[in-house]
Amino acid sequence: MLEGLLLGLSAAVTPVNLMMVVFGCVIGTLIGMLPGLGPMSIIAIMIPVAIGLGDPTAALILLSGVYYGAIFGGSTSSILLNAPGVAGTVATSFDGYPMARKGQAGKALTIAAIASFAGGTIGAILLMIFAPALSSVALLFHSAEYFALMVVGLSAIAAFAGTGQVGKALMMTILGLIMGTVGEGALSNMPRFTFGVMELQSGFSFITLAMAMFALPEALFLVMNPARAAQGESGKITGLRISRAEAKAIAPVIGRQSLQGFFIGVLPGAGATIASFLGYAVERNIAKGEEQAEFGKGSIKGLAAPETANNAACTGSFVPLLTLGIPGSGTTAILLGALIALNVTPGPRLMTDTPEVFWAVIISMYIGNLVLLVLNLPLIPYIAKILAIPRNYLIPFILFFTLMGSYIGQNNSTELLLLVGFGVVATILRFADYPLAPLLIGFILGTMLEDNFARAMQLYRGFSFILERPMTLALLVIAALLVVVPSYRARRARLRAQGVADD
């Protein structure tokens, strides 16, 4: 591990890469603060830049810096405006906004920054411990297990989508997989489902799809519903200091939530949102008497808990990405797409083939967290001015960046028409409450899923690999249970509510 750290240090601490961390964190904070633009949209917008760099280490460092910055920026707008930019920071606004209303905006931002820093750093330490271990286990996996593991990942993403949503999420996953089969397949060079359209020969571009699924609907919602971007009075932010007693009070919260958040983040599909809500709920239940009553009215513990948990979960979500090559969230799916475009295949072999990429990312996580704490915190009062940009300027620019992002990747204006078309479809899907992250994850995993499936089929001359490899069978059973159990329980609950259950 020590060698790895040194290797990572030597790869990450170059002037260019350090600049990437700082640049990524600042850009991420700037854009993440804008209500409605979450990390997924920001990373999607930054991908052409990252790919343009050409160096996978620098690109991944830049993108993870953007990711952290976006989460941090999202908490800033939650605290100052009660307008969370990201679902993962909604819980931050429960106590952060009341604190800002009481004139403690500076203190709230400091606590958020310290909690994020601690969550991110402890998460990175855990990642450093668990990822190599997991990837050495993963090296024993065959294509059959990989196939089964990806099925588990996809069904877990659907299963965590919430009650009544499992079917919808599953539908979106399958739609993503179907879209992934368009174009020339890996098995033979036969173009599939292109319907004779030349531009579809190489399949849909994932950047276009990512922009259309996340950035474009958000921008359109900002247009349609001005309340979403309600401009608050971001008054003067003063008093960034916290007292010793307050630090003592939040320390155990940070410790607990770093661990809990990290492990929730590792689970596919759970991610920062669930981690932050759960962290908030757990801390409210643990707190006693007066402290509990203060939750929701500006409790520092209630602010520290979701902030720590969501950053730890973000780090945790890198574990399946880096060790198995399976993204557990929309954001890591986008990162995976960027890595594949840069000719790096994340997975167990990442650590043996290109260890410098893996360790540089870990080191850049520490540096990124430090940058957020040291550089961004004092700058927050100035950065917060971005919230005052009028939407008449902001929205055309957001739309323009989505257009640019998908144009630069392909240099083809058909791509822009596809972007608008998919964007409209995505907006309609959002209206009907269909989750979109599963679609993108399905799309990105589709090719890998089919490759591994094909390899297993060829090795075993048919479907017998499912029965002959116990681990594959076990994983597939888990995948089925993950989907069936929540729907069954939802059905039971509904029947009981109607009074026809078995009582």
Partner: protein, 163 residues
């Protein structure tokens, strides 16, 4: 029928078309040597088509979950039942503008199309201070062109095609 059911119905239809293409139009194109493979290019799509129809029908036919108690529409959350309150016209105008941008990017050149897009986009949203908007758009278009062309090294034709 609610919008999500219509989407499920459309999804089932897409799966049927997709399944038809996978089951009936692909296999005869396969060279004989590949036909001895246990897996064909159409195998995975066939599985997906069947799974898609099953899941789509499940969503289409399953009863709607009862609304939870104490769940109220929050401000800023998009809700279809309030569609009348939204600026749908502006959104559609912006989409049309994006299509126009895609069409004119080559003929007007990057700089012209971008400045036009940013200024008109602002105008659609109600911006009337063009003496600020136009210089901002011009500076932004110029600096982004410079970044993409010189820093990232991706060619973007800046001027109209007839120049």
């Amino acid at each position: 029928m609610a919008l999500d059911r219509w989407i499920a119905l459309a999804f089932v239809a897409i799966c049927c078309v997709y399944g038809y293409a996978a089951f009936f139009t692909m296999d005869h194109l396969l060279p004989p040597i590949l036909q001895r493979n246990p897996i064909w290019p159409s195998t995975f799509p066939k599985i997906l088509a069947i799974a898609g129809v099953v899941v789509g029908l499940f969503v289409l036919l399953s009863p709607k979950p009862a609304p939870k108690d104490g769940e109220e529409a929050k401000d800023g959350v998009i809700d279809l039942s309030r569609i009348g309150d939204y600026h749908v016209g502006q959104a559609i105008a912006l989409l049309v503008l994006m299509v126009a941008y895609a069409m004119t990017l080559r003929s007007l050149g990057f700089l012209g199309a971008t400045i036009g897009f940013l200024v008109l986009g602002g105008a659609i949203l109600g911006e009337r201070k063009f003496h600020i908007m136009i210089p901002v758009a011009a500076i932004a278009a110029g600096s982004i062109w410079y970044l993409v062309q010189e820093v990232l090294g991706i060619y973007l034709s800046p001027l109209p095609s007839f120049l």
